[in-house]
Symmetry: C2
Subunit: 196 residues, 2 copies
């Protein structure tokens, strides 16, 4: 019965992944890792993101707030793309430039297998992550990278920073995103070696 | 034997906390939560931080790098403090302005008690956190806030941003730090109610 729950979850998540790959919605940088983990008996993957650069609209600061992506890139960006996006009219209270690191959700059959994922995480030098659900038949691990940037760039439609600084930011964000992707690749290599 | 390990860890960490409080090194915003959890049979706290605003020196971008605090405030900051710190000579390759959210480490006697901490975390609306060590006699939960900012402000000693933007940043960082502290207070209230 307890194993049934895990197998059911695994089946559901594997089908969701296969569907996303088929429809071209899958995050290509996560595909190798997800496909490998889902092929194993004791693991599956759930919603994951390889890392991204975003322009986030924030309607009102502080309070519980609706947020919306003004732009979202799951890759390095060109200066022109960011400048164009900044020059577009935005009416929200604030616009933030963010580099979000990868976030991965891995399901494990039991505590023993969840522990193995934590071991891989550490072997790959990933510092943030842990078991977020620990129930019989459902152990869920969340891992997150640490390459992050977050700053306000527009307020009430007005640009807060100059073009020179935007150039510097884009360069930095691309560099950090590259490091973030390298860490993710290392984690995949460790998983392929340690988890079977 | 297995319980011995937990009791030993608990004793060590409680003594460290008492020492830190006595010597005035304890983070005052963590004191209530830490003292309460350490008074319980099944929990203890380890290194924790209530959140801070920092100016971080980064020697070389990207690679494994030594980092150093140019400034570190465990409280809201005044504009003048930040401006003065920015005007000081810095020779590092980069200086970053960061708002780091709270980070809490809680030890639990067993998986059952670790689960209770995760439940409190969710009840307090904390989205990042999980069990990072899961061994007999040692279950460790790490929780982290999500109020964060991170941006480069100097490069090779040159300021990258104008005074007007620094004013905006400081206001934002103080506001977010206030929200971060409120979330921490809510977590303490939930723990006092749910954990005994």
């Amino acid at each position: 019965m307890k194993q049934d729950r895990f197998n059911m979850l695994k089946k559901h998540n594997r089908e969701e992944l296969e569907k996303a790959i088929k429809e071209g919605r899958a995050d290509m940088r996560m595909k190798g890792l997800c496909t490998y983990l889902n092929s194993l008996e004791n693991f599956f993957t759930s919603s994951s993101c390889s890392g991204r650069i975003v322009l986030l609209s924030v309607k009102s600061i502080g309070e519980k707030q609706p947020k919306a992506f003004h732009r979202k890139w799951h890759r390095k960006v060109k200066l022109k793309e960011v400048v164009d996006a900044l020059e577009e009219k935005t009416r929200e209270k604030e616009l933030w430039f963010k580099l979000d690191p990868f976030i991965i959700h891995i399901g494990a059959r039991d505590l023993e297998n969840a522990r193995k994922v934590l071991k891989c995480m550490r072997a790959a030098g990933i510092k943030r992550g842990g078991i977020i659900v620990a129930q019989k038949g459902k152990f869920l691990i969340e891992l997150q990278g640490t390459h992050a940037m977050a700053l306000p760039v527009k307020s009430h439609g007005e640009e807060l920073i100059g073009r020179e600084y935007v150039t510097f930011l884009v360069k930095q964000a691309n560099k950090k995103l590259g490091e973030n992707y390298k860490r993710l690749e290392l984690f995949e290599r460790v998983c392929r070696r340690e988890l079977q």
